[in-house]
Amino acid sequence: MDERWYHRKGENDDVVQVSRIRLLRNFKKWKFPARMSEEERTEMLRTVDEKLPRLQEILGQPVQKLETDELIEEEKLTLQERLLINKATLEQKKRAIVYASADEAFSMTVGGSDHLRLLLSEHGQGLGPLYELLSEVDSYIDSRIPFAYSKKVGYETSSLQNVGTGMRAYYVMHLPLLSESRNFQTLSREMIKFGVVMKEAWISGAKKIGGLYVLYNQRTLGMKEQDLMDILTNVAVRLTGEERELREKMPDLMLRDRVLRSYGILLYAEQLDFPEACQHLSNLLLGVSTGILSFTKEMSIYELMLGIFPGNLQYYFKQKADDQKLRRLRSQYLKEYLEYIEMA
């Protein structure tokens, strides 16, 4: 687990939790996934598997191959929670193959809604290096198996929502205080004028949880990849500044009370449901970012936030669990990690 991407220290990760880029591509040779026959699908999966021997070399790490129709339910759930496979691909009845790097930062889904879905993530802020690497992978594949591309509209995707660059860039940001402030709605509306969408990263029922927000570019066409990323980064930098300012302004007593109250609950609770645990982890993250809490080994609160999802807990403890059992496992899991967190 220790070499996974969300475990690493990230740039500005007191606020920015994740940088992520997704590219959608289709091959010129075959009909798009919704229209292709079983034979074509098999041929495509085989071709991709055979013609990209340098993939591991470019990524600089081993790549694991996963066949979606060979996965059991628990595996599907945990892979989805770790964002290695998207829900749509798992729910389709057709065969797909996912290639995932050892650190899980890179994944390539072959045979989802588009022929290829390339995904690369990093903890903290840093879209630039991510794009550079992903673009290298992209060009390598294109040179081996040409993509469907037109001079006019660019990379041709199944849905016109993704045509052009086929790129969506994301930041997942931790904005516990800013999201409670009065002008948050205004900020959100303002952003959309620049083509940046912001929404709650995790929702449980009608409630937003964990103070996590995801930012991404709405359009995929008419702008260069770099410009799309620059706008997103500008917005993220501004939000980071505002969130930090609020953290500094918050009276020490209130901040400490909020953080340590959650710390206490996580230390002593015997069972925790997901929204509650997530809320307390959000306060712990606030505590680590403001120096109230510190780690005694390299880890991140974000990895714990991922860790408490149902599928990931079952994967971690190597057992099946119903809701009640999950609540107990969740508190047990957090206690194990809380040993590495101390009051500064």
Partner: protein, 186 residues
């Protein structure tokens, strides 16, 4: 207000999109919106639903009151020679069937792309093959200037035809452009 996707439950979530700098909102129920609330906001299904709304609005706009409605009906029956998908089907599910669909339905989809993306011309990374072509082209550039000018003129006219939803004219111009492009590339 009812959810715009399921038309069953009360809409409590508002999703806003931008077109031409104007925002456009869709109201969804908690259940429909929740499915797409995960950190992975790709929301392929939601895209599809929204596309349907857009396509619906577009077709209504092109509807019977429009004098070209016969042509629109004809456009709907237009089929891709490679995968067999008709433009009517594209309007239904919002999905292109293959690379040839983009070519076949170009006059019809460009205004849709404009609506969805606020632009219809790619300016980002070029595919490997397109990059190669460009360097080869450079050598013959000088003598083909006048043809190039003619081409850009035709392209402008096609854009106008598309914006006026005159697809027949646009298709004719597209063929003309293609012929000329063919000549240019020898």
């Amino acid at each position: 207000m009812l959810c715009e996707i399921c038309h069953e439950k009360e809409a409590t979530v508002r999703i806003t999109r931008i077109h031409h700098g104007n925002s456009e909102s869709h109201n969804l129920c908690q259940d429909c919106a929740k499915q797409y609330g995960a950190e992975d906001p790709e929301a392929q299904d939601l895209s599809k639903a929204i596309f349907k709304l857009l396509a619906g609005a577009l077709m209504k706009h092109l509807g019977p009151q429009n004098q070209n409605s016969e042509e629109n009906e004809r456009a709907k029956k237009l089929a891709c020679p490679n995968c067999g998908k008709t433009f009517g089907e594209v309007l239904e599910d919002g999905l292109m069937g293959c690379t040839d669909c983009y070519e076949t339905f170009e006059p019809q989809i460009l205004p849709m792309i404009m609506r969805i993306q606020g632009a219809d011309t790619h300016t980002g990374k070029k595919a490997v093959k397109a990059r190669r072509k460009k360097t080869e082209q450079k050598n013959v550039e000088d003598q083909t200037l006048s043809k190039k000018e003619e081409l850009s003129l035709l392209e402008d006219r096609m854009k106008i035809a598309v914006s006026e939803e005159n697809y027949e004219e646009a298709a004719r111009l597209r063929d003309e452009i293609r012929r000329l492009t063919g000549e240019l590339h020898g």
